[in-house]
């Protein structure tokens, strides 16, 4: 994959900085971001260096001190946005008791009133809308579960074993054909879209990028391990029923085959994973590290909040069209 098209002065600087090898001293210090969108594509680009990376970035760029400084500034701002919204929403008790974490997760999910893209796909979406949604979703699904994998070494015994039990299934139970991100790639091909890793980054909405940036940030920072696992739990707890609606919508539009199979797999898999995530991962993590209890709920809130913002943006764009 090549680096994305810049969307403002900061991403322009970042792309130049990461590509630079000998000429980096000519670039000068990083400018301010021109917009929120410029911030989101910059942070997405910087995070990608820790996944598969870019063919046109210097291989050492992941640990370039100037790039790391930009990443830190943007992550601080992102975390602040998420925490401010969490503080402003009165759904999540910040002082949840460790033993109540699984129930608190259920409550946060039950109280989520964001619009449902799966409902729209099931009943009304046009073929073009579904393809646009799949392009946006591809940013995450082509690296599905990878950000959670970073958290494994940071967990106590029970949560670590449970996360691995869940991840083993995400990564295909040892069969590369069943690796979830690979199932999605095959689905993209089946509906006539491009399946290469990162193919649609230049089409990604800032809301899509922000959603991905949050899960990467939670995964990359040990301090945010509780938020990462809460995010995972909320994601799994809101996946099974919507995946079934996606199957129904895709079938309504005649898109049977590998993409339907991808969502079909998630009906069944996530009906299992949601219990592992809420109880065996988040529940035991909160018992073993009580200060992580409210962080878990924060991560769950962030997951639902970012999905709601993404859904709102997408539905508004389709309304206008």
């Amino acid at each position: 994959m090549r680096m994305p098209k810049p969307r403002g002065p900061l991403s322009e600087w970042t792309v130049a900085r990461l590509a630079a090898t000998a000429s980096d001293h000519e670039l000068g210090p990083a400018p301010s971001a021109g917009s929120w969108e410029d911030e989101t594509i910059t942070l997405w680009t910087l995070h990608e260096l820790s996944y598969r990376g870019f063919e046109d970035a210097a291989d050492r760029a992941e640990w370039d001190p100037e790039a790391l400084a930009v990443r830190q500034t943007l992550e601080i701002a992102l975390e602040e946005r998420l925490r401010d919204r969490w503080a402003g929403a009165d759904v999540s008790p910040a002082d949840v008791r460790p033993a109540d974490v699984p129930k608190a997760l259920e409550r946060v999910v039950a109280e989520d009133d964001g619009p449902s893209l799966a409902d729209h796909v099931r009943r009304h979406a046009t073929l073009d809308e579904v393809l646009e949604l799949l392009r946006q979703r591809s940013i995450y699904h082509l690296k599905e579960s990878d950000s959670s994998a970073w958290v494994v070494p940071r967990l106590p015994v029970r949560a670590k074993a449970a996360l691995m039990e869940l991840q083993y299934d995400e990564y295909g139970d040892g069969d590369p054909n069943r690796l979830h991100s690979h199932l999605f790639a095959r689905g993209l091909v089946a509906v006539g879209l491009r399946s290469e890793y990162g193919a649609y980054v230049d089409d990604a909405l800032p809301e899509t990028l922000e959603m991905n940036n949050a899960s990467s940030m939670f995964g990359l920072q040990r301090r945010l391990r509780g938020a990462a696992m809460g995010h995972l739990a909320a994601f799994e707890m809101t996946s099974s029923l919507p995946s079934r609606k996606m199957v129904q919508g895709l079938s309504r539009l005649g898109l049977d085959g590998a993409m339907t199979a991808y969502y079909d797999e998630h009906v069944e898999a996530d009906a299992i994973h949601e219990h592992l995530a809420a109880r065996d991962i988040c529940g035991t993590l909160a018992e073993d590290e009580p200060d992580q209890a409210s962080e878990i709920i924060f991560g769950a809130f962030a997951c639902l909040d970012l999905e709601a913002r993404f859904a709102t943006a997408v539905l508004a764009a389709w309304d206008r069209a």
Binding site: R158, D173, R178, S240, V267, E268, A271, E274, H275, L276
Partner: protein, 73 residues
């Protein structure tokens, strides 16, 4: 009896093969096949499966999350 570590805690963890979720499915670990209520045998390809207990799943014997939209009596 399991051994105690220096801090006196028991480090042998519960890890049952069958776990009933409150108002949810039965999680089953380590099975290789499951026979459903009609007698059909399904191969199991995952380390853990969730078996429907509300009988409203669209893909019995597996849970599909439907129990969450059924009012609790």
């Amino acid at each position: 009896m399991s051994e105690l570590w220096d801090d006196g805690t028991d480090q042998e963890f519960d890890h049952p093969d069958v776990v009933l979720q409150p108002h949810g499915p039965m999680l089953l670990r380590g099975a290789t096949s499951v026979q459903d209520a009609t007698g059909t045998v399904h191969a199991v390809t995952r380390p853990v499966v969730a078996l429907c207990r509300c009988e409203k799943s669209s893909r019995l014997p597996w849970c599909d999350g439907t129990h969450k939209v059924i009012p609790r009596g």
